[in-house]
């Protein structure tokens, strides 16, 4: 079945220049493997579409049940150059939580 990422995870996002960083954190450590399996750099890049001009990198923090994503060339030049209202990507974590992932019933019960 499909579930929104927001059902099993929370997030915080910020910036480093033109790169947005999104931390995705499982509410329950049991769901961390599901994050690792479903929330791949490719899926994240595809989800944001034209918004992410560069590559997407992913780092794993199993100790926190969390993944850290770097979305390169995403913030309209970043910092003071950007013409975007969300030049720091502060809302992109909330956006990614809308992504739908595949999960079996028993995995999220």
């Amino acid at each position: 079945m499909k579930i929104p990422l927001s059902r099993i995870a929370h997030a915080r996002s910020g910036d480093k220049g033109d790169t947005s960083n999104i931390g995705i954190i499982a509410f329950d450590a049991r769901h961390y493997p599901l994050l690792v399996r479903e929330v791949t750099p490719g899926r994240v890049k595809q989800f944001f579409g034209e918004m992410v001009k560069g590559k997407v990198e992913r780092y794993e923090l199993p100790n926190l049940g969390a993944l850290n994503f770097l979305l390169h060339e995403t913030l309209g030049g970043g910092g003071t150059l950007s013409l975007r209202v969300d030049a720091q990507g502060k809302t992109l974590g909330a956006a990614l939580l809308r992504m739908e992932i595949d999960a079996a019933e028993h995995e999220v019960s």
């Binding site: 929370h10 997030a11 915080r12 910020g14 910036d15 480093k16 220049g17 033109d18 960083n21 931390g23 954190i25 509410f27 989800f47 944001f48 579409g49 034209e50 918004m51 780092y59 794993e60 923090l61 199993p62 100790n63 926190l64 049940g65 969390a66 850290n68 770097l70 309209g76 030049g77 910092g79 003071t80 150059l81 013409l83 975007r84 209202v85 969300d86 502060k90 809302t91 992109l92 974590g93 909330a94 956006a95 939580l97 809308r98």
Partner: protein, 444 residues
């Protein structure tokens, strides 16, 4: 055990936070972070206009306001409020709070040494783009090396009540008291990494005590009176994050995790001047109401290079808005956007970037936003950036005319045409650490 509080996550953060931290419960150290990357260039310009300026001007009045408490409770303050003029900042603090001993940390400001560095063969290439610094040499507004916690600890050892630094790392403000009180050595990497991670957790103020938190945000208690964070650290590098009793907000492992991931790059290599911290070694535990225990942290050797924060004049930008109401609010806004762009093109104006967003539809989430078929109103926000100030200025005159000469129901022009702003850009670079010598001066 020592208690280190952070009362300011950036210059412009809540003015009451540091006052409440010294009033509402026990702390030993008050850390205050005032500097963002671009702040230094703004301060440099202020200093050029008046040699007595160039520091965070909110800081001396704050110290004046809390000085009695600082003395009564023996609380020391560590702040990077000095900007590009720590000595002037210290003199002003001495003037308004004459009974406090004030020390400054110097040596981060390398604005006057760039040609020396270039001549010695240090290209100071942009870490993001690889371009050499020589290409923007004549447009540089400020240049500072990020310095670490040891010079700040030295200032505390000199007996300072108030330590004023320029461009030190945010994490150094909290790590310095631990080095000072626990006698940590410069190669005790695990302990330094623990103090650095403690500093990272609190450096954005209330962002680790329930602010900007996506976990159950509706039920975070009493955000109006949110308590700012306090580190309770021991000599072995174990620490807890908490806040004063009776304050609003919440401290939980979930919330601390969000802050740990904030503005993080490679979690195994969080590089500071003091050490390289490994975020994959952190163990968190909820340990009572509003208390999270942190342990297990490992670190590695400090880097041979220090990061430089260089600001330079890049160009100009302006951003303006118009509002259209239903029906067809989005269609009207898009028509207005097309008309503005066509008129700019007819004028032959060139920009590096023209960017349009539709508030109420997709400004924050772009293509990911859930479609809204008939929003009651939409705000068109359109911006341009370029090297030619005249072109940017002309753009600012092309929005309001649409109220009479574009699609119907255009409004929201009450503040007139938007201002043209200078774009000061950030140039991150590296420099060998042995070129940066810091010193501590007690200001009498």
């Amino acid at each position: 055990m020592i208690r280190i509080a952070n009362g300011q996550g950036f210059w412009g953060d809540w003015l009451e936070a540091p006052v409440r931290l010294v009033e509402q419960g026990p702390i030993d150290y008050l850390a205050l972070d005032y500097l963002a990357e671009i702040t230094m260039s703004i301060l440099q310009k202020q200093k050029e206009g008046d040699p007595n300026l160039g520091y965070a001007r909110d800081f001396p009045p704050l110290i004046a306001r809390i000085q009695r408490r600082l003395i009564e409770r023996d609380i020391k303050v560590i702040a990077n409020a000095g900007g590009v003029n720590p000595v002037a900042c210290a003199r002003e603090v001495r003037r308004v709070a004459p009974s406090l001993k004030v020390a400054v940390v110097l040596g981060d400001d390398v604005f006057g040494r760039l040609d020396e560095f270039l001549a010695a063969g240090h290209a100071m290439k942009n870490m993001d783009t690889g371009e050499p610094l020589s290409g923007i040499r004549d447009r540089i507004l400020s240049a500072n090396a990020y310095i670490g916690a040891f010079p700040l600890a030295e200032a505390l050892a000199a007996g300072a009540d108030v330590v004023i630094a320029g461009r030190c790392t945010d994490t150094a403000l909290s790590l310095a008291p631990m080095i000072h009180r626990f006698g940590w050595k410069s190669d005790e990497w695990d302990k330094l990494a623990a103090g650095t991670i403690a500093g990272h957790i609190v450096e954005c103020g209330a962002q680790c005590t329930g602010g900007n938190c996506q976990v159950d945000w509706q039920n975070v208690p009493d955000m109006a009176n949110i308590g700012y964070p306090i580190i309770e650290a021991d000599h072995a590098g174990r620490f807890s994050i908490t806040k004063h009793e009776g304050t609003g907000g919440r401290v939980s492992a979930d919330i601390v995790k969000e802050q740990l991931l904030y503005e993080l790059g490679d979690p195994k290599n969080y590089i500071t001047p003091d050490c390289v911290a490994d975020f994959t070694s952190i163990q968190l535990k909820d340990a009572g109401p509003d208390r999270v225990q942190v342990s297990g942290i490992r670190g590695g050797a400090r880097p041979q290079m220090l990061k430089l924060s260089i600001a330079y004049s890049y160009g100009w930008k302006a951003i303006g808005t118009l509002v259209y109401s239903a029906p067809q609010a989005l269609e009207k806004s898009k028509a207005a956007d097309r008309i503005v762009r066509e008129r700019l093109q007819q004028l032959g104006l060139k920009f590096e970037d023209i960017y349009s967003e539709f508030f109420g539809v997709n400004a924050c989430h772009g293509p990911v936003a859930v479609p809204n078929p008939d929003p009651p109103e939409v705000q068109l926000r359109i911006g341009v950036r370029g090297q030619d100030r005249k072109a940017v200025d002309r753009f600012t005159r092309e929005l309001i005319p649409l109220v009479l000469s574009g699609p119907p129901t255009g409004t929201g022009f009450g503040e007139g045409r938007p201002p043209v702003r200078e774009v000061v850009a950030y140039w991150p670079a590296l420099i060998p650490r042995e070129l940066i010598q810091t010193s501590v001066e007690v200001v009498e």
